[in-house]
């Protein structure tokens, strides 16, 4: 099963008709992401549902498991993590705690699509308390966060051991993260993923 992202953060100059392009990209993204995620999870569920009740239990809650039951190694796929993010966003939105503009939503999914990887930490979407949305990753003493405002601008921030600021950068809507920031984030999230063994949020 492969997952083909429809775009990444490096989308170059702003298009002449940004709203039309925005709508198209969001639609493409959502279609591809949701379908890929559903297909991946459904295929694994059907594959393992009859083999072990505990496997079915895990899979239904977001884990993709190996087929070797005696030495099972759980992997959490990119699709499952994105689907979880979507579920949390919808719950927050349905509760009326987030009012996302199209620009903010576009920036959010572009960032998630660029940074979420298999076995990486779980992207947890939360409201800021004043209508905006934040994505947080927490594991291994590292806190990574991005807050999206109404214009689609966002900031990324990383903190280690509650005291050491590793990263703090503001990104305008339509602009790419710098390569240095991208490398730092990818490396950091990969390191965090190695400590992400329990994932209580996915099991909730």
């Amino acid at each position: 099963m492969t997952y083909a992202p429809t775009y990444n953060l490096d989308f170059g100059t702003r298009p002449s008709d940004p709203f039309a392009a925005l709508t198209r990209n969001v639609a493409n993204y959502w279609g591809a992401t949701i379908e890929a995620a559903k297909h991946a999870v459904d295929s694994y569920v059907s594959m393992f549902a009859s083999s072990s009740p505990s496997f079915a239990f895990q899979i239904e809650r977001g884990f993709v498991a190996s087929s070797n039951i005696s030495s099972a190694v759980n992997h959490t796929s990119k699709e499952v993590l994105l689907r979880f993010a979507e579920k949390r966003l919808n719950a927050t939105r349905n509760a009326g705690e987030v009012e996302l503009t199209l620009e903010a939503e576009w920036s959010l999914w572009a960032l998630l699509n660029a940074l979420v990887e298999q076995d990486g930490p779980t992207p947890q979407l939360v409201p800021t308390g004043d209508g905006a949305v934040e994505v947080q990753w927490l594991s291994g003493g590292v806190f990574v966060s991005a807050i999206f405002d109404e214009s689609g601008d966002f900031d990324v921030y990383a903190l280690e051991n509650d005291s050491e600021v590793l990263l703090s950068e503001e990104v305008e809507f339509g602009q790419a993260l710098t390569s240095e920031t991208t490398e730092t984030l990818v490396s950091l999230l990969a390191r965090m993923g190695k400590t992400a063994k329990l994932r209580p949020a996915l099991l909730r």
């Binding site: 800021t128 308390g129 934040e134 947080q136 005291s163 600021v165 949020a201």
Partner: protein, 159 residues
């Protein structure tokens, strides 16, 4: 200590929050199983009574025994399913958002004494331990500060 005085750095401070697992918007569970952290949504800053900045209620842990109450008594009777998260005055004042080498805005938080905010008459006992986090910042930049403040608060189950 008088009203408005800064709390000592080592003072453990408590913030009650809605721990409803269905919404789970006020807290986030780290993937490694360590204690949950609060999110910015758990901090409803309101304009302060003094007119300077915004404020958010907290309680001083060290004051509870002398009032004959425990942490769970900081939660109101109608706040079913709520829980307590803890931090310290030092951690709140130590929040920073700029990386080393970059000059950022100074920390906008104060942590101050505020016993019996509504007067002593008929006040619940927990009001004797009441304190405030003061935030002197407006605009969208405060979201980052509040998020990072919230991250210093760890959930401590009381049920």
């Amino acid at each position: 200590m008088a009203k408005g005085d800064s709390l000592a750095d080592g003072e453990v401070i408590l913030r009650r929050f809605d721990a409803d697992a269905g919404r789970a918007n006020h807290w986030v569970e780290p993937d490694d199983g360590s204690p949950a952290r609060l999110t910015g949504a758990a901090f409803g800053f309101k304009p302060s009574k003094s007119g300077w900045g915004d404020e958010c209620s907290i309680y001083q842990d060290s004051e509870l025994p002398s009032l004959g109450i425990g942490r769970k008594n900081c939660i109101q009777r109608n706040q079913v399913g709520w829980d307590i998260a803890t931090s310290t005055a030092e951690a709140v004042r130590g929040v920073k958002v700029a990386p080393p080498g970059k000059q950022g805005e100074p920390n906008p938080f104060g942590v101050v004494e505020d016993r019996y905010p509504k007067g002593v008459k008929r006040a619940p006992r927990r009001d004797g331990a009441h304190a405030e986090i003061i935030l002197g910042l407006t605009g969208s930049a405060r979201r980052r500060w509040v998020s990072t403040l919230a991250n210093t608060f760890k959930r401590e189950a009381i049920y």
